[in-house]
């Protein structure tokens, strides 16, 4: 009963928040609703017993990613509303609804649950974080390490990219240099 109530409540909440993100003209609103949506998603994780994932979701997404966005946005002018030539809604709706229908069809209609077997079965002896830990450091050790290296590279990359010649435009310089060369 609790699960049902929680599911529907969270569902309505996420859908609403994400709709705001997608349709809002104001970047700040969009970002705020996205961050709130992420929190609710973490709720779903707790709901399906993926406690560790829920925590990771909160820390990484809500903590790190949204903080990054917040910092990033300081470089942009976010006070004004966005002026975009949005793709025609009918078209978007057609594509979106088709995708939704197709996916539903696939999930609901086509998957044969009997044919699915767990390749990494959960055991009742361990709680979730423990089980995740066991899996990560045994079977998924190499991917885990690779992911770590990737994150490190991403961090360095992010810093280098964002910190590069912050106050001059590369394109303009090259154009000027080129023009000077042409003039000669």
């Amino acid at each position: 009963m609790f699960e049902q109530i929680a599911f529907y409540f969270f569902s309505v909440l996420t859908i609403g928040l994400f709709l705001v993100t997608v349709f809002s003209k104001n970047v700040l609103y969009a970002m705020t609703s996205l961050a709130s949506g992420m929190v609710v998603i973490a709720g779903f994780f707790f709901l399906v017993g993926a406690d560790f994932l829920g925590v990771v979701q909160l820390i990484v997404y809500v903590g790190a990613v949204m903080a990054l966005y917040a910092f990033g946005m300081m470089f942009f002018n976010v006070t004004k509303d966005l002026k975009e030539k949005n793709t025609s809604n009918i078209w978007v709706m057609i594509v979106g609804v088709t995708v939704a229908l197709l996916m539903t069809l696939m999930f609901v209609g086509a998957i044969n649950p009997d044919a699915i077997y767990a390749s990494l079965p959960m055991s009742d002896k361990m709680n979730n974080p423990e089980a995740v830990g066991m899996a990560l450091f045994t079977k998924y050790l190499v991917p885990f390490e690779v992911a770590a290296i990737m994150l490190l590279i991403a961090m360095i990359g992010g810093i280098v990219l964002a910190g590069k010649k912050m106050d001059t435009s590369l394109t303009n310089i090259e154009d000027e240099v080129l023009q000077q060369k042409d003039a000669k």
């Binding site: 078209w91 594509v95 088709t98 995708v99 696939m106 086509a110």
Partner: protein
């Protein structure tokens, strides 16, 4: 003896290579002398071989080496010297030796003197290969070889420009050469097919094997083989409808006309029929067709000779006509008579041509007999030679032509084909008329050449002496008829007249003789005094028809050459360029255009790309679902 065979065969080749090595240098007298000497060597070797064959009655068979060996096919370079081939060798080497000697004088002023001897000797070599080979493929080597040499020699003065057909019916030497080559090629295809038929039914191309296998072959195979081989013979011997090249071939130097287009090469077709007589023997229908065609050509060619004004062309038509006689004899089964006439004809026709060459030399290349006349004062020897040769041609006893030609006409009577007989008799009269028309117009009557500022002179002495063997043979060859009969029937079927014909022989002979003499008399009455031209006759339809060779060259031009050229152009410009190639380019264009059109997709706008991606995702999802459902 084997050595002699090779000497006879290869001496001309050596001569050709020797002369050829000087081909690009200026005239050297010794080239002609040495070539002639080598040819004489070949002649002596042939004569000794002839004596050997006569004495022992044994054919000499040699094998030089293998030529083509593939699958079951095995063609050697094998040579056989038997009664037939040795007769041909004798005739060919004799005439060519004389012609070589003659050419030293005739080509005196030509800057391509050395080249000429090279070609001429190469021709003799090819001709010897043709007659000496012991298989059909070897024969074909010689067959094509003489074709090429003829092409080279007709086009010897290749630098002359093309002119309209009205001015010179042969257009130009190079045009005539190509015409000869291509017409021969048409016939050669027939010959090749004949060879194929024989190979696939016998498994060999050796004469002896093939002839031994004849009883095992079906009639239809034999008939097709005979037809195919005869088509080959028609081309080389210029039988209707492949005859036009022969008169055009007169563009070549006169010694060439004497050797190739009178005495030797054109008789190759007759030789083939004689050589392959076992095949023609068992195909009476084809043989009768040969005889009928031969008779027709004899008459047809003689009719064109009646009105022609060109000295060499008249002789060329008479060659054509005499070839018709030979085919008539061969077709009627009198192979040895055909061979005998072939030999006799070679002597007197070569003599006639060489005489014509003397006249041409004297007249600075002028060939129109209407512009000559009264030459006998200046050119006594030539007059005698040509008169003698014409008498022989007309068939006046006791000269060689009488014996051979009379025998052919008698054969036609003997076979009961009275139509053929009648036509051959009439032709004999026409022959006599046109040869003496030519002799009288050239040597008798008023001296018309003065108007054209020509100063005729007699040919060199050594040339005239060199021609004498031909003259002697033209006179005496007829007396060897019975001896030749005994000699040749060892290998060819013996043809004997029936009892009935034998009784009538004297009367038949007299009829022919009477017709011939009346021809001569007619010519004498009409032309002895000089040229009397009558506008009315020359404008008559018949005269024009004959003078234009029945318009056959024009017909060929209009029906074959022109349409072929047009069609070729059409094939290239329209079919190849506009259909075949355009289709390919069309396909390429479609691809290019579709790429060009779909380039719009590449707008550079990420949002558009994302839309496309979504569509792609939808397609993938559909595929996934369909595959899951299936």
């Amino acid at each position: 003896m084997e050595g002699l065979v090779y000497i006879a065969l290869f001496a001309p080749l050596v001569s050709s290579l020797f002369a050829g090595s000087f081909a690009m240098t200026s005239k050297k007298q010794f080239v002609g002398v040495i070539s002639s000497f080598l040819l004489f060597t070949s002649f002596v070797a042939s004569a000794i071989l002839g004596y050997h064959v006569l004495a022992t009655n044994e054919a000499i068979h040699v094998k030089l080496m293998d030529w083509i060996v593939a699958g079951d096919l095995n063609i050697p370079f094998g040579f056989i010297v038997d009664q037939v081939s040795v007769t041909m060798m004798f005739v060919v080497t004799l005439v060519s030796t004389v012609v070589h000697v003659y050419s030293i004088g005739y080509m005196d002023h030509d800057k391509s003197f050395n080249r000429f001897f090279s070609y001429l000797s190469a021709f003799v070599f090819s001709m010897l290969v043709l007659v000496m080979s012991d298989n059909f493929a070897g024969l074909f080597i010689g067959w094509e070889g003489v074709g090429v040499c003829s092409w080279l020699l007709i086009g010897f003065w290749y630098h002359k420009a093309d002119v309209a057909r009205d001015i010179n019916p042969s257009i130009s030497p190079s045009w005539a050469a190509n015409e000869a080559f291509i017409m021969n090629r048409i016939a050669d295809l027939g010959m090749l097919i004949g060879i194929f038929i024989i190979y696939w039914n016998v498994g060999s191309l050796q004469y002896d094997v093939v002839f031994n296998a004849i009883p095992n072959m079906t009639q239809i195979v034999l008939t097709t083989a005979a037809i195919a081989l005869f088509i080959g013979a028609m081309g080389k011997s210029a039988q209707f409808p492949l005859h036009t090249w022969l008169t055009d071939a007169m563009e070549g130097p006169t010694p060439v006309s004497a050797l190739i287009h009178a005495a030797t090469m054109v008789t190759a077709g007759v030789f083939l029929v004689i050589r392959a007589n076992p095949i023609f023997e068992v195909t009476p229908d084809v043989s009768y067709f040969i005889a009928a065609l031969g008779t027709f050509v004899a008459f047809f060619a003689a009719s064109m000779a009646l009105v022609n004004r060109d000295l060499k062309r008249i002789i060329a038509f008479s060659t054509l006509s005499q070839l018709g006689y030979m085919f008539a004899a061969a077709g009627l089964g009198a192979y040895w008579i055909a061979l005998f006439h072939l030999g006799a004809h070679a002597f007197f026709k070569a003599l006639l041509f060489l005489g014509a060459g003397n006249v041409m030399h004297a007249m600075d290349g002028e060939l129109d007999i209407f512009k000559m006349g009264g030459l006998k004062k200046k050119m006594r020897w030539t007059y005698m030679y040509m008169g003698l040769a014409s008498l022989t041609l007309a068939g006046i006893p006791p000269l060689a032509g009488f014996f051979s030609k009379d025998a052919i006409i008698e054969t036609a009577f003997n076979e009961g084909s009275l139509i053929l007989w009648a036509m051959l008799v009439v032709t004999a009269g026409m022959t006599a008329f046109y040869s003496f028309r030519q002799v009288f117009l050239t040597f008798h009557g008023d001296e018309r050449y003065h108007e054209f500022g020509i100063h005729p002179h007699e040919m060199y002495k050594y040339v005239l002496i060199g021609m004498s063997p031909l003259a002697i043979l033209a006179v005496i060859a007829g007396f060897f008829k019975d001896g030749f009969n005994d000699f040749i029937i060892k290998i060819l079927p013996n043809y004997q007249m029936s009892e009935h014909t034998h009784h009538l022989a004297l009367y038949l002979g007299l009829i022919v003789l009477a017709v011939a003499v009346s021809g001569i008399v007619l010519a004498y009455i009409k032309y002895n005094k000089g040229l009397v031209r009558s506008e009315k006759t020359e404008n008559s339809f018949i005269y024009k028809l004959l003078a234009n060779q029945y318009y056959i060259p024009n017909l060929y031009e209009a029906v074959i050459s022109k349409p072929y050229a047009e069609l070729s152009k059409l094939m290239w410009k329209n079919v190849d360029m506009k259909i075949v190639d355009a289709t390919v380019d069309g396909i390429a264009k479609v691809l290019y255009k579709s790429g060009d059109k779909s380039r719009g997709m590449q707008s550079g706008n990420l949002s558009n790309y994302l839309n496309w991606m979504a569509i792609g995702a939808i397609v993938l999802l559909v595929v996934a679902i369909l595959s899951l459902v299936a």
